[in-house]
Symmetry: C2
Subunit: 308 residues, 2 copies
């Protein structure tokens, strides 16, 4: 990309992130130019080495001639946000490549908003013709699962020390993961961790509707060990998705989600007139003195809709 193209893209993304007036037009255009990129979500607990792994994978995709975008989503508190600065610097070498684009996203306002904005940014990148979008999220909380779930494939990166966490592993992580990576696998406990994961993946494979068995891959990302295997598995997964019509159904689901979101926003916007907002605030101010319940207040507000 020329520095001018990079600037234009960065501006588009910022407009979408800030919900500026032009955002809708930009997203509309992006959707019309298609939904072709392979979206790869990378998630896992802090310190698992996700950034290094993403770095390696982005290099490989770039080497193979694919236009590659990396979005690093950091839902950390503003107080601890500085922790990832090191990763950003490490990635700089990659960002000078002509076919690679890197963007960080941080929390501003609600986390639900972050997840939505991440989807929108992916759509913009997709519209710009990127072949690969790597979405890195820090942590294994709900927000990361939301984001990862928007991807075509989800890679969960763990380390031998994550053993204890697996017992209490967060909701859905077994279900949404397509590829497990045990990173830093030169450390003590790696083999036990792999066996542990393998026995858990058997459970999911019995439930899954996809003809896919979750692989558990050992890696040492800092020494580029295991990267080729992960890369190959990602390609196999893409082929599998396309062969089974899952590629289209994922895109349809994505479009449906966006339509529902737009409808919800429009309905809410047109409902909340100044008058109704005033009524609600007034009721809330009085709520201690009255016996009104939120059900009664909502009913009154909705009946005012029916009468106009």
């Amino acid at each position: 990309m020329t520095s001018k193209e990079i600037k234009t893209l960065a501006r588009s993304i910022s407009q979408v992130e800030n919900s500026s007036p032009k955002a809708e037009e930009l997203l509309d255009e992006a959707w019309r130019s298609g939904n072709h990129a392979y979206r790869i979500g990378i998630t896992g607990p802090p310190g698992a080495g996700k950034s290094t792994l993403v770095n390696c994978l982005a290099s490989k995709f770039s080497d193979s001639g694919k236009r590659t975008a990396v979005i690093s989503v950091d839902p950390s508190s503003p107080f601890t946000g500085g922790a990832i600065l090191g990763d950003r610097i490490r990635m700089n070498a990659l960002s000078t490549r002509e076919n690679v684009y890197i963007r960080s996203m941080a929390t501003r306002g609600s986390l639900g908003g972050l997840s939505m904005r991440t989807h929108d940014v992916c759509d913009i990148l997709d519209g710009q013709g990127f072949d690969i979008i790597l979405i890195e999220t820090v942590g294994v909380g709900q927000i990361e699962l939301d984001i990862a779930q928007a991807a075509d494939v989800t890679v969960t990166v763990l380390v031998p020390e994550s053993g204890d966490d697996i017992q209490a592993m967060k909701a859905g992580i077994m279900e949404i993961t397509d590829i497990f990576v045990v990173n830093k696998s030169d450390r003590h406990g790696a083999e036990a961790m792999v066996l542990n994961l393998q026995s858990l993946t058997k459970l999911r494979n019995n439930y899954s509707t996809l003809p896919w068995e979750q692989p558990v891959i050992k890696a040492v990302a800092t020494e580029e060990v295991g990267i080729d295997i992960i890369f190959d598995k990602l390609e196999q997964f893409e082929i599998m998705l396309k062969k089974n019509d899952n590629w289209e159904s994922i895109r349809n689901e994505r479009m449906k989600r966006k339509v529902l979101q737009l409808i919800n926003e429009a309905l809410s916007d047109s409902f909340w007139t100044q008058e109704r907002k005033k009524y609600l605030n007034n009721e809330l101010r009085l709520s201690e003195a009255t016996d009104k319940s939120p059900f009664r207040i909502a009913e009154i507000l909705l009946s005012s809709l029916r009468n106009t």
Copy 2:
């Protein structure tokens, strides 16, 4: 509570959990009978000893004559859900007390739904005249923060080993925590952990609008060490909230959230007629062949609303 009262309460809660037709009436009644309970959220990483701590606190509240409810929310995967069985058994002794009620909630369907249902169950318990509602959540992900945030006070339980996690601590945890507990503080590293947390809490205290400094309390819950201090701090926090009108503003905010939720559901229900659903599904089926974007589809659907 008599066993008949317990049965009635359990049935009401189940109806709310399952969104049965009677749920709205039950919740409406609950809201009208008031919103007086002190809601205490207890969150923290797996293995931090939250259940033991909640057990100790519930006993103390019960001893002091308060009607006490405990809700254990477990957003774990169905594959790992069995992990908390031990805690449930340990709690049984407590549940035979006359003024204590204990309820577990697990994931069914979406996690967002779990958070909403937890709020509703708290409202039911509140309406039943409980003085104290302890809400225990496993983990420090977004869902736990959502749930904890619905409480009047949030206690975050950590262990000396959580040190590494703090660096990458999840969004908002510093902001939403009112009381930190370093549990298992007889272990190595407890002192360093406390100092670490104390320096982080200084940051929040500069931002906070409440006249409250986050205490960092050392505890060994299995030996009931530190429980009295936590109990006192919880009482101090309640007094502080009531003195500063925060008690009312939290309840107003809660009522507002409920009104908004009810309005959103009603708007969505009345919008999505069979005809519109059919149109959307049809468009999605065709989306590969057409150049329609979700923006265009939403526009067409919304204009059909304006024309009717």
